[in-house]
Amino acid sequence: MLSYILKRLALTIPVAFGVSIVCFMLVHIAPGDPLTSVLPPDASAQLQAEMRKLYGFDRPLPVQYGLWVLKTLQGDLGVSIATGRPVASELGKALGNTLMLAVLATMIGFLFGSLFGFVAGYFRDSWIDRLASFVSIIGVSVPHYWLGMVLVIIFSVQLNWLPATGAGPGGSAEWAWDWVHVRHLILPAVTMSVIPMGIIARTVRALVAEILSQEFVSGLRAKGLLDFGVFRHVVKNAAPTALAVMGLQLGYLLGGSILIETVFSWPGTGFLLGQAIFQRDLPLLQGTILVLAMFFVALNLIVDIVQSMLDPRVQRA
């Protein structure tokens, strides 16, 4: 077991290295000048050259990459060109905001997705199944930024029940778990939850249908168990897979959604990435992509290790 974990950890190193190269190259091959955000458009050529030197953009790309990796390994993600603030602190706050949003969205998605999935699977081919399946297909297919705008129009503009933007009243300063702040979280979380909801509902429906066709269910019925009792057994059997799907969905949502966070001006990683792209803020862009990518690498590592613990056949494969 230990040797498997060590082997898996060792394999992560070249993957992480590859990810860092892709991160670095992707942002450098994109068009545009990173100094645009810090210099007035008519800044002189001399000033531009000085700034290019100051930020190290005059060096060859491999040298820039090497220096960046060295600093990153020491925990220094550099300083944002546009704001002059450390990338790590910018990213830390945004990650916290996205985490909050992603967890709530996943919980909503899991709750309603499971509910629709179980109901649809249990009452297969009935009108309830069709209705629940329709809702879950809508969840998977609807462009979520569009849904966000529609929710804003209905609940913020027309009904004035919930705020349209930001993470707190009057632009947010500090987050607090009170109604004034939490109401800012509702619309983006609901918007973000529709995709996991749809996916979980589809998965659970198929799972429930499959479980119901198994012999032990007939056994339970033969034993004289009522519908509710049978349903409880089905839920227990379907839960591990549903939870695994939920975990994956949480992973995706933690990456942040540029579109949803932009629509709601939610100060998370997606919003930060969007701004970094528009401003050609290379250190911020590289740092954010790298951290998010490494998060996925770590998530995959954890999933592999946990799977191997639960099912030793995985190790042999």
Binding site: G32, D42, S44, T83, A164, G171, P267, Q275
Partner: protein
């Protein structure tokens, strides 16, 4: 008797309290994605200067932002007056306003101003700040040296006689040396608690999320002491999010509402405030060899082909049709003889004289961007103009490049390979002072890479006029020269002059007392909030 006394007491209290009654909090949704730099030379372009420049800071020379019915002019700021030496036109003397206090309580002196110039220009000075320097240095190219003659007298020497110096100095916010010392000589720390002399003080800010400004009740200009209790700035870069925030009551004012939302905002009782200001939306022509725009008849034909009224309809009325390079009514407009009207017959005639016609159509390439600061709605607008020009016989191919790429091409020049053989580019300009308005576009020695004369234009008569601008120190006489420059710009149709933006803002009906100056910058001191 007791009742009468009670009434009298209540009335007295109310009367005494009225001057300090809460005038409310104004929450503004900015288009910027972050809180602009707070230390004196803001980033985030004109918007940064508007909200974090002339709120917290004053410059030696200020813009008069009190009128909406005429273009803004320069007025004394932290300098009560200035003069240029009669014998040496490079030597300027500025008289520093007495008794002005920074927000930290320290006193403004000529030495403090010198310290501020060093902060931007002297890279070995302990207070030199690269972030501020990169914003401020290019604003004061004329300054060669400076010194404090006495605590209230500042001397500035320019590289050559340059009468545009006061316009340049209007960009430079003066920050407090004492606060920099107090904050451990660390600009990052000063940024959290900056100190200027402006009518607003920064009460605090959270990067990318909000900034809170409160009035400086001790401002030296009593007419600029804010009536509001608080001004909150919120970055909301996405236009639809901005509009939704206004409509749901999260903010009271938004910059640049989405144009298609303007009719519904109006019908829901929001105020849409617009005014002409020194901005223009042009096609900058190339004068490089082989460019068809080298022929004045072609330039004029293109200008006569544009249907500016039709374009205004397309934009829901949110534009001022160009009558010249400067907005109509501008103090430098002059009396150009070439009128910018739609006259297809005349356009075709001019093209025929230039050798073009149905058998030999004029075809050329223009660089445009799909979006960008000040570019308004570039795609539909350019397509509209493309159609207009096609009706006159000018076939335009567009090369669409991303906005930041277009800025780099603009810096590189029309002859550079990055311009991809284009003979023009759609570019919108900040045209607030003689340099940004005229000189930088067409002066011979500002051809790329030295400057931003993208089209490589060079003309003896224009050079002489530019020299006169710089050497005419009497403001009225200088305005006359600027009129001549503008007349030449228009009469020779040196640009495709299309439109001026109207700086639209949408605000709640509760916002009272805002006067939208014909300027990129605005005064927020006169505003109050109705209950």
């Amino acid at each position: 008797m007791r009742r009468a006394l009670q009434t009298l007491t209540a009335m007295t209290v109310l009367t005494l309290a009225s001057p300090v009654l809460a005038q409310g909090t104004l929450r503004i949704g900015m288009t910027a994605s972050d809180i602009p730099l707070t230390t004196g030379q803001p980033d985030q372009g004109g918007e940064g200067q508007r909200f974090m420049g002339f709120t917290l800071y004053d410059a030696l020379v200020a813009w008069d932002l009190t009128r909406s019915d005429k273009p803004s002019g320069l007025i004394p700021g932290l300098a009560t007056g200035w003069s240029v030496d009669a014998n040496d036109k490079t030597k300027w003397t500025f008289r520093i306003r007495e008794g002005v206090k920074f927000h930290d309580g320290s006193t403004l002196t000529a030495d403090a101003v010198v310290w501020n110039f060093d902060k931007l220009l002297k890279s070995d000075a302990p207070q030199f700040d690269q972030r501020q320097a990169s914003q401020g240095r290019s604003r004061i190219p004329a300054v060669a040296s400076y010194r404090a003659v006495d605590p209230l007298t500042l001397e500035i020497i320019t590289r050559a006689p340059d009468a545009t110096l006061p316009y340049q100095l209007a960009w430079i916010g003066i920050s407090s040396p004492a606060q920099w010392e107090k904050k451990g000589r660390n600009w990052q720390e000063v940024a959290k608690e900056p100190s200027g002399t402006g009518p607003w003080k920064l009460a605090g800010f959270t990067p990318r999320e909000r900034a809170e400004l409160v009035p400086n009740k001790d401002h030296w200009d009593k007419t600029r002491i804010p009536k509001l209790d608080k001004l909150i700035l919120i970055p909301l870069p996405e236009p639809n999010a901005r509009t939704a925030a206004l409509r749901s009551g999260q903010v009271d004012w938004i910059e640049a509402p989405a144009p298609d939302a303007v009719p519904t905002l109006k019908s829901n009782g929001f105020q849409i405030v617009t005014n002409v200001y020194p901005h223009n939306w042009t096609w900058h022509f190339s004068s490089a060899e082989g460019s068809p725009w080298n022929d004045v008849r072609v330039r004029k034909a293109a200008n006569l082909a544009v249907d500016r009224e039709g374009l205004k309809e397309l934009l829901g009325g949110l534009m001022v049709p160009a009558e010249g390079f400067m907005p109509p009514g501008h103090q430098w407009f002059g009396k150009p003889t070439f009128k910018l009207k739609r006259d297809l017959a005349e356009a075709k005639k001019l093209l025929a004289e230039a050798g073009y016609g149905p058998n030999k159509p004029l075809q050329t390439k223009i660089l445009i961007s799909p979006s960008g600061s000040g570019q308004m709605q570039p795609l539909p607008m350019n397509e509209f103009i493309q159609q207009n020009l096609a009706e006159a016989g000018i076939k335009i191919d567009f090369e669409v490049v991303e906005w930041n790429t277009l800025i780099n091409i603009w810096r590189a020049g029309a002859k550079h390979e990055s311009s991809r053989g284009a003979t023009g580019m759609n570019y919108s300009y900040f045209i607030q002072d003689p340099f940004t308005g005229f000189i930088r576009h067409l002066q011979c020695n500002l051809q790329p890479p030295a400057g931003t004369n993208w089209g490589h234009y060079c003309d003896k008569e224009m050079e002489s006029l530019f020299d006169q601008i710089r050497t005419t120190f009497d403001a009225e006489a200088q305005n006359k020269v600027l009129e001549k420059v503008h007349e030449k710009y228009v009469n020779e149709a040196l640009f495709l002059m299309v439109t001026h933006d109207v700086n639209a803002r949408a605000m709640s009906p509760k916002v009272k007392g805002f006067v939208q100056a014909q300027n990129w910058f605005q005064n927020f001191s006169s505003i109050s909030m109705a209950p």
